[in-house]
C-alpha cells in the first residue's frame, strides 16, 4: 500500500489555483474505463479473493453466534445487573455512527460545494448502507424474542396496543428506519446514471439485462438530468439534517435518562461529531486498500485522502472539546454523582478503556496537524485504525462505566463480555466487509457521472476565468514550502 513513489502529489496549495482532482491525464473515456474496471474484469485481484474469504468466514461466525443466541437467550452475553446494556448497544451505536459518514460526506459536502466529494461519495454511501445493516442487527437481536420485533412499529392490532412514542428507543426505530431508507434512495438515485454506463458497456446479454433493469432506462436525457439534479439536491438537503437527527436520537437513548455520565445536554452534537469522525476514519480505512487494489489512485488521489484527514482532525478535536466540556461541567455543576462518574472513568476500573479512547480519538488525530502525516499513507492508516478502535471504545466507556457503577454501590458489578459477545462483534465486521467487497465487484464504486463534471473537459462554456486578466499570475508564483 505504501508504494508512495507512484503517487502524484496534488496536495499543493497555490492561492488562486485549484489542484486537479483527477490526476493522470484522464479524459472521459479513460476515466470510465478505469472506474468500470473492477466490475468488468473477469478475475478480480487475488487480494479481493483473500479478503472475501476472510469476510465470509466472519459472516458465518455472525450467523452462528446469532443462532446460538436465539436458541439460548441473552444469557449467553456478558450483560449483568446493573450493566444491562452491553455489547449490543455499543455495537449498534458504533455501526450506526460509521453509517453516518457516507450520507454526510455525500450530502453535506455536496451542499458545501466540495468538488472532491465526487471521488469518494459512492463507496462512502455504500459503506453507510452496510454499516446501517450491521447496526440494525443489534437492536433486533437484543430483544430476546426476535420474531416479535415488528411490535416496534405502529401496526394496528387486536389489543389496541401501540408503541410508546415517548420512549427514545422508539424514536430510534423511526430515525434509523428513515435513515436507512433515505440513504438507500440517495445511494441508488445517484447510482442510476452509472448503472446505465454499466448497462451500455456490458458485453453480454445477461449483464445488460440486469444492469438495464436497475438503470431504469436512463438515457442521459438533459430533461431528465434537470429533474434528477434537483431531486439530488433536495435529497442532499434532506439527508443533512437527517444525519444530524439520527445520531442525536441515538444520543437521546442515553441523554434523556438521569444516569450520571449520560444525561448531559451536549450529547446530541457531540454524538454527531463523533459519528462523522468515526465514519471518515472508516472511509479512509476502506479507501486506502480499495484504491490500491483496483487501481483508482488517480481518482481517489492523495488530495482526497488529505482532505479526509483534515476532517478527521477537525471532528476529532470537536469530540475532544465535548470530552472537555463534560469534564468541566461535571465539576462546575457540583453534582457529586456526576463528578464521581467522571473521576471513575479516568481513574476507576475502566480507566484502561478511557485512556485508550482518549489516545485514539483525541491524541492520535492531532498528528494530522502536520502535512507529512496527512500525506503519508502508513501514518494515515495507523491513525484511522486507532480512530476506529477509539470510537468503539468511546461507546464502551459511555455505556459501561455509567451502568456498572450506578447510584447503589452495593450493586456495582464489573462487566466482562463473553466470547459470544466478541464473536458477534467480529461477525458484524464480516457482514460489513462481505457486502462491501461484493459492492466493489458488481456495482459502480466511483460516481463516474459526477466525477466527469469536475473534470476540466466538462466545462461547456470553456471560458478561461477572468483571473488571467488580474495582476496575479499563478505561474509566476513559486509554491511555498509548507509552513511549520
Amino acid at each position: 500500500m505504501a508504494s508512495v513513489p507512484n503517487e502524484i502529489d496534488n496536495t499543493w496549495n497555490r492561492p488562486g489555483e485549484r489542484a486537479p482532482l483527477i490526476t493522470g491525464g484522464h479524459d472521459f473515456t479513460s476515466l470510465t474505463d478505469v472506474a468500470c474496471g473492477p466490475a468488468e474484469t473477469y478475475r478480480p485481484p487475488r487480494a479481493w479473493y483473500i479478503a472475501f474469504t476472510i469476510s465470509v468466514v466472519l459472516l458465518a461466525i455472525l450467523g452462528a453466534s446469532i443462532g446460538y443466541l436465539i436458541i439460548n437467550g441473552v444469557g449467553v452475553w456478558g450483560v449483568n445487573n446493573p450493566t444491562g446494556w452491553g455489547f449490543a448497544i455499543i455495537n449498534f451505536v458504533f455501526w450506526v455512527g460509521i453509517g453516518h459518514a457516507g450520507t454526510l460526506i455525500s450530502a453535506i459536502l455536496f451542499l458545501f460545494r466540495q468538488k472532491w466529494r465526487t471521488s469518494i461519495n459512492r463507496f462512502a454511501e455504500a459503506m453507510t448502507i452496510f454499516a446501517v445493516m450491521c447496526a440494525g442487527i443489534f437492536p433486533g437481536i437484543h430483544v430476546g424474542r426476535i420474531w416479535v420485533t415488528y411490535w416496534m412499529g405502529p401496526l394496528p392490532n387486536q389489543m389496541a396496543m401501540w408503541p410508546n412514542f415517548r420512549s427514545p428507543l422508539l424514536w430510534d426505530v423511526f430515525a434509523v428506519g428513515t435513515y436507512a431508507t433515505v440513504s438507500l434512495l440517495f445511494w441508488y438515485v445517484g447510482m442510476i446514471p452509472d448503472l446505465a454506463t454499466f448497462r451500455d458497456r456490458s458485453k453480454n446479454k445477461i449483464r445488460r439485462f440486469i444492469y438495464g433493469l436497475f438503470a431504469m432506462g436512463w438515457t442521459g436525457s438533459s430533461r431528465h438530468w434537470h429533474r434528477f439534479e434537483r431531486a439530488y439536491l433536495i435529497l442532499a438537503a434532506l439527508a443533512t439534517p437527517l444525519v444530524l437527527s439520527v445520531h442525536s436520537v441515538v444520543s437521546f437513548d442515553f441523554a434523556v435518562s438521569q444516569l450520571p455520565g449520560w444525561h448531559t445536554t451536549i450529547f446530541p452534537p457531540y454524538f454527531v461529531a463523533g459519528a462523522i469522525f468515526g465514519g471518515f476514519a472508516m472511509v479512509v480505512t476502506l479507501a486506502l486498500p480499495a484504491r490500491e487494489m483496483f487501481g483508482l489512485k488517480n481518482i481517489i488521489t492523495l488530495r482526497h485522502l488529505e482532505n479526509c484527514c483534515k476532517i478527521i482532525l477537525l471532528t476529532g478535536t470537536i469530540v475532544g472539546y465535548a470530552y472537555l466540556m463534560e469534564f468541566f461541567i461535571s465539576w462546575y455543576g457540583g453534582n457529586q454523582y456526576e463528578s464521581f462518574i467522571f473521576r471513575a472513568r479516568a481513574l476507576g476500573p475502566y480507566a484502561w478503556a478511557y485512556w485508550t479512547m482518549i489516545t485514539c480519538n483525541v491524541l492520535a488525530p492531532q498528528l494530522f496537524w502536520f502535512k507529512w502525516c496527512r500525506t503519508n499513507l502508513w501514518v494515515m492508516f495507523i491513525v484511522v485504525m486507532m480512530v476506529n478502535v477509539g470510537m468503539w471504545f468511546e461507546r464502551f466507556v459511555i455505556v459501561v462505566t455509567s451502568l456498572s457503577q450506578d447510584f447503589l454501590p452495593s450493586s456495582w458489578h464489573y462487566y466482562v463480555p463473553t466470547a459470544i459477545d466478541w464473536l458477534t462483534l467480529a461477525g458484524s465486521f464480516g457482514l460489513f466487509f462481505t457486502m462491501f467487497l461484493l459492492f466493489c465487484r458488481f456495482l459502480p464504486m466511483v460516481a463516474m457521472a459526477e466525477v466527469k463534471t469536475v473534470m476540466p473537459h466538462a466545462d461547456a462554456h470553456a471560458h478561461v476565468p477572468a483571473s488571467r486578466s488580474f495582476d496575479y499570475n499563478p505561474d509566476d508564483f513559486e509554491p511555498e514550502q509548507e509552513q511549520k
Binding site: 428506519g177 438530468w225 433536495i234
Partner: protein, 424 residues
C-alpha cells in the same frame, strides 16, 4: 452483444422514430442545442454522460416543479407524524367510541410524561417529514421523467451506447410538428456533429425484455398472493383445532405440577430452593412489638402505638372494618348478637359458644393491647384475623370497640348539647 447483428440499425425495417446526431464535446453540444431551440423544435432532447452546465438554458428547459411536490409531501409527513402519535398515545377507547379495536388509541401514562408530550414527539415528526419528502423527491423525479422504462427506441443505435461514457447526442423526435425527414436531416447535419442517424422502431432490440420474462413475472406475482390469501381466510374461518405454534415461546416448558411426586429441577426433588435460615421478607421484620403485637416488654399495652393517630376519621375506619369483620358474630353494637350467632342458635348448632359481649365487665377492663392481640391471634374459639386485617386497621377496630364500650356507659353529660334533642 453476443449474437446480435448491430452493424446498421437503419437497415432494419420499421417506423422512423427520430434522428440522432453525435457530438464529441459539451461545448459543441450546447452550441447545437441553442440552434435547435431557436429553430423552434419542441420534441427533442440532448443526451449526455453527465449534467452539462448551461444546457438547460441552451435548450430552454423550464425549472421543475419538483420542490413544490417535496414541500407538500413533507408537510403531510409532518402532520401525519403528529397525528399518529397523538392518536396512538393520547386518545383512548372512550374518546372515539365505536371504532374497531385495532384502530383505537391506547392512552396511558408513563415516565411522568403527559399523554400528549409534544417535545417527545418532535423526533418522530421530523423523521416522518423527511421520509415522505424524500419519497416525493425520488419517486416524483422518476415519475416526471417517465421512468422506469426498460427499453427505448434509442437503444437500437449502437453508437448511442457511448452516451453514458463520453459522447454527447441530440435526438429530434419524428413526432415534432416541425419534423420533416429531409429538411431536418440536412439541418441537423449542419450543426457540426456526426451525420444524423435515423432511429427506427424495431421489434427485436437488444435491450428489449426477453419474451418469457413478462409471463414468468406475472406468474410469480400471482403466486405471491397465495400466502396472504390463506392468512386472510384463516382470520375469518372457525376451527376446533388448537392454533399452530410456529414459535413455541414459553408454551411448552418444564414445570412442577401439583401432586407431582418430585421435580426434576433440583437433585432434592424440590421445584424451588428453600429460603435460608433466618430470612425475613422485606417489610416483615416487625421489630416494633407495640404496633405489631400490642405488647410492650411482654405486657399488654395500655396505649396506642405512635404509628396511629386517634381522630374521628380513624375511628370511623375502625367502625367500617368492625362492621365487616367483627359484626357478623359480635353484632353491630358489640353485644354478641350478630347474625352468625343468631343463625347458629336457630339451627341449634352443637357446641356453639356464643360470642362474648364487648360490654361485659371483663371485656371493658382488658387493656388495648389485649383486644389487639385477640383480633390478631384469636381467643378461645374466635379465629385469628391478623392475616386479613392490617395492623393499622386492627388498631382502628380497637379504637372503635373502645368507643362502643363508652357509648353503652355514657350519661347525658357526655352527649354534646346540640345533639341532645335527637335523643328520645
Amino acid at each position: 452483444m453476443s449474437g446480435v447483428k448491430t452493424d446498421s440499425p437503419n437497415a432494419t425495417a420499421g417506423r422512423l422514430e427520430g434522428l440522432l446526431v453525435e457530438f464529441d464535446s459539451p461545448t459543441a453540444l450546447v452550441a447545437a442545442a441553442e440552434q435547435i431551440r431557436d429553430a423552434g423544435y419542441r420534441r427533442w432532447d440532448t443526451h449526455t454522460p453527465f449534467p452539462v452546465h448551461g444546457i438547460d438554458e441552451a435548450m430552454g428547459i423550464r425549472p421543475t416543479r419538483l420542490p413544490f411536490i417535496v414541500f407538500l409531501l413533507g408537510f403531510i409527513g409532518c402532520i401525519g407524524g403528529l397525528v399518529l402519535q397523538w392518536w396512538t398515545n393520547a386518545t383512548g377507547a372512550s374518546d372515539f367510541p365505536g371504532l374497531p379495536t385495532f384502530l383505537q388509541g391506547y392512552n396511558y401514562l408513563i415516565s411522568g410524561k403527559p399523554e400528549f408530550s409534544l417535545p417527545a414527539n418532535i423526533p418522530v415528526i421530523f423523521e416522518t417529514t423527511v421520509l415522505l419528502a424524500a419519497f416525493a423527491a425520488v419517486f416524483g423525479m422518476l415519475a416526471m421523467n417517465n421512468l422506469p422504462k426498460h427499453h427505448t427506441a434509442l437503444f437500437a443505435s449502437e453508437r448511442f451506447r457511448r452516451v453514458t461514457t463520453d459522447r454527447f447526442f441530440v435526438y429530434v423526435d419524428a413526432a415534432d410538428a416541425k419534423f420533416d425527414e429531409g429538411q431536418t436531416t440536412s439541418f441537423l447535419g449542419g450543426l457540426g456533429g456526426s451525420q444524423p442517424e435515423a432511429i427506427h422502431d424495431i421489434a427485436s432490440s437488444p435491450s428489449a425484455l426477453p419474451g418469457g420474462l413478462k409471463v414468468s413475472t406475472l406468474i410469480l406475482i400471482s403466486l405471491l398472493f397465495i400466502p396472504p390469501l390463506v392468512i386472510a381466510r384463516a382470520r375469518v374461518a372457525k376451527s376446533n383445532e388448537p392454533r399452530i405454534h410456529i414459535i413455541q415461546d414459553m408454551d411448552n416448558q418444564e414445570r412442577f405440577k401439583a401432586q407431582q411426586a418430585a421435580s426434576a429441577f433440583f437433585a432434592d426433588g424440590r421445584a424451588s430452593r428453600p429460603q435460608p435460615e433466618g430470612t425475613v421478607a422485606r417489610g416483615d421484620l416487625r421489630f416494633d412489638t407495640h404496633y405489631y403485637e400490642g405488647k410492650i416488654g411482654g405486657e399488654y399495652a395500655t396505649t396506642y402505638p405512635e404509628q396511629v393517630t386517634i381522630n374521628e376519621q380513624f375511628i370511623r375506619r375502625g367502625q367500617e372494618r368492625f362492621n365487616v369483620y367483627c359484626a357478623p358474630c359480635h353484632g353491630l353494637g358489640g353485644a354478641g348478637n350478630g347474625t352468625v350467632n343468631a343463625t347458629a342458635l336457630r339451627l341449634e348448632t352443637a357446641g356453639w359458644i356464643a360470642p362474648t359481649s364487648l360490654h361485659d365487665q371483663l371485656a371493658r377492663s382488658r387493656p388495648l393491647g389485649h383486644i389487639y392481640n385477640s383480633i390478631s391471634n384469636g381467643i378461645r374459639s374466635m379465629p385469628p384475623y391478623g392475616d386479613q386485617i392490617s395492623p393499622t386497621d386492627r388498631w382502628a377496630i380497637v379504637s372503635y370497640i373502645r368507643a362502643l364500650q363508652f357509648s353503652q356507659q355514657a350519661d347525658l353529660d357526655d352527649v354534646p348539647p346540640e345533639v341532645r334533642p335527637e335523643l328520645r
